[in-house]
Amino acid sequence: MNMHSKTDLRELSYAEAIREAMDIAMVRDERVILMGEDIGVYGGAFGVTGDLVEKYGTDRVMDTPISELGGAGVAVGAAMTGLRPIFEFQFSDFATLGMEQIVNQAAKIRYMLGGAVSVPVVMRFPSGSGTGAAAQHSQSLEAWTAHVPGLKVVQPATPADAKGLLLAALEDPDPVMIYEHKILYKMKGHVPDGYYTTPIGKAAVMREGKDLTIVATSIMVHKALDAAETLAAEGIEAEVIDLRTIRPMDRDTVLASVRKTGRLVCVYEAVKTLGVGAEVSAMVAESDAFDYLDAPIVRLGGAECPIPYNPELEKAVVPQVPDILEAARNLARGRV
């Protein structure tokens, strides 16, 4: 690994950053293995594992049969007994078949056993819409696992965080679920060289502003930043927060921002109802930051339906930049 020269300017795609994190982890720690469907010679459905199988062989880069429940469970058992598996669900939608092992086992074993064991498993969930793959291949189900104590749930939005959060997840003694957005895999960004971790449970202020706070997750962070650019030209200064971890949530960063701006928009791709936005809103409503609000909180989330196939419909059911702009303008101009 090149540690010097102009590596600081180096750009990687989100997928490459994840691969680099896995590569670094596998060099550092013999216990790390990769498991998943078609992650070997195929390189993963989204090319994330790439050619790692050539470097580490099929003993450490294991193609599982199409057995999500079994595969997830094997990863849990291995994590309890000395390995550090990174399990890839080919699409996050298929994690629904592995939910038993995630929710009843991985999340609860440590607690049920009175702390006698830990389950340091890492699971990766390629999520989200925008690929024309319709209702069973496009979901954003991160709130499902975030509802379960015992799990930690992260949603990196940038290549640098995709790498740092994966390395942090491997250091974490408890199960960490990583929701990656499929549309971000090709997105490039600056990624620091070598080993580093991004703390789990810490949000990032991506842009400072005084007029309103936009709390976003995953791909919506980029849409929010786009919108903030346009808003700035109109004289509205939006503060954009990338939540990064949804369990445990970074209360301090969100509340501090709301106290400053007095206005809050939450934007996320998952179905709006009973999701991350509800939690963020409640967090504010239950705190002193509530007193600082000058307007009702606005949530922008996915429509109350499965992701449709038709491309125009598919776009229409998740928040887009114009939706954020409209909400932000209304809030900032006191129309809400």
């Binding site: 049969p65 196939y309 125009e312 229409a316």
Partner: protein
């Protein structure tokens, strides 16, 4: 159907089915091939977003398996489902319209390639979830038994699905409750990039039948007659109240798994070898050899199929897109506030 005793040396399908039925079967096989080619072409020309799973090379399995079914009988299908849909009598225009995401499509543009279904013809749907259709097929068979409809359900699934828990749970329940269902495994040797040798503990998927105390048989899935012989027998057992069976049609997909496949897990030679065992060419030869159809008639059948596909693509192209205001329609049967 002919009601004759099967003479020696005459392939099963020839003695069992009329010339009309056999020519119709050949036509469906051509329709599948040309639907898939048209789909691929539309994708290449950027008319479609998303992905697709083509069943080119597997046409005998789809059409042969459905030969003895009526519209009352059910099927469940898979992500690689276009062929099953055609075999069960779907309208090609509405299939293409769905593929193009149009309101005139089978799923009104909501489902797309992976979810094309025609319940009016007994097709309960393709499925984006590997193994998702297996328990559903058992449920359809349970209905048929309780309601006394006499319907049989054919459950199509791939070799990859046999390692999902749903497969094992479904076969077990089907046997325990003695239900009229036929599990048809289309073993095309790979689940995406993973060969059955690398994923599956038994040699033949049909060997799994032993664990669930039902008949299991492996046949050449590119041989139309062999497929019909095995599946028809299983359908008949199901109809007679003798319970479920497992049939394994060994076949091959000529194209990659989906549009993102670089075919790094198999050789060009292997693909070429299987292409030389074209199930459609074999079926055409079967009909010509047994004087069911002349070569000219075969050419005419193919030309018919080509024309139908062209018309279907034109129909699909002209169709309207769904209305954005109606995007939440059909989430529930009755309009429900969230």
């Amino acid at each position: 159907m002919r009601d004759t005793v099967i003479p020696n040396n005459v392939p099963y399908a020839i003695s069992r089915y009329s010339a009309e039925e056999l020519k119709e079967a050949l036509k469906k096989m051509y329709l599948i091939r040309k639907f898939e080619e048209g789909a691929e072409d539309s994708y290449m020309r950027g008319l479609i977003h998303g992905t697709m799973h083509l069943s080119i090379g597997q046409e005998a399995s789809a059409v042969g398996s459905c030969m003895s079914l009526s519209d009352e009988d059910k099927i469940t299908s898979t992500h690689r489902g276009h062929g099953h849909c055609v075999a069960k009598g779907a309208d090609l225009s509405r299939m293409f319209a769905e593929f193009f995401g149009k309101e005139s499509g089978y799923c009104k543009g909501r489902g797309g390639s992976m979810h094309i279904a025609d319940p009016s013809k007994g097709n309960l749907g393709a499925n984006g979830i590997v193994g998702g259709g297996l328990p559903i097929a058992v449920g359809a068979a349970l209905s048929a038994k309780r309601l006394g409809t006499g319907a049989v359900t054919i459950c199509f699934f791939g070799d990859g699905a046999n390692n999902e828990g749903a497969f094992h749970e479904a076969l077990n329940m089907a046997k325990v409750w003695n239900l009229p269902v036929v599990f048809v495994c289309e073993n095309n040797k790979y689940g995406m990039s993973t060969s059955t040798e690398r994923s599956t503990a038994v040699k033949n998927i049909a060997d799994r039948a032993v664990a669930y105390a039902m008949p299991g048989v492996t046949v050449d899935g590119n041989d139309f007659s062999a497929v019909t012989e095995a599946v028809d027998a299983a359908v008949e057992r199901a109809r007679n109240g003798e319970g479920p069976s497992l049939v394994e049609n060994v076949t091959y997909r000529w194209r990659g798994h989906s549009k993102s496949d670089r075919n790094r897990y198999r050789t060009k030679e292997e693909i070429a070898e299987w292409q030389s065992r074209d199930p459609i060419a074999a079926m055409a030869k079967l009909l010509v050899d047994h004087k069911i159809a002349t070569e000219d008639e075969v050419a005419g059948i193919e030309a018919d199929a080509t024309r139908i596909i062209e018309e279907a693509i034109a129909f699909a192209t002209e169709g309207d897109n769904p209305k954005i205001e109606e995007v939440t329609r059909d989430v529930y049967t009755e309009e429900t506030a969230s």
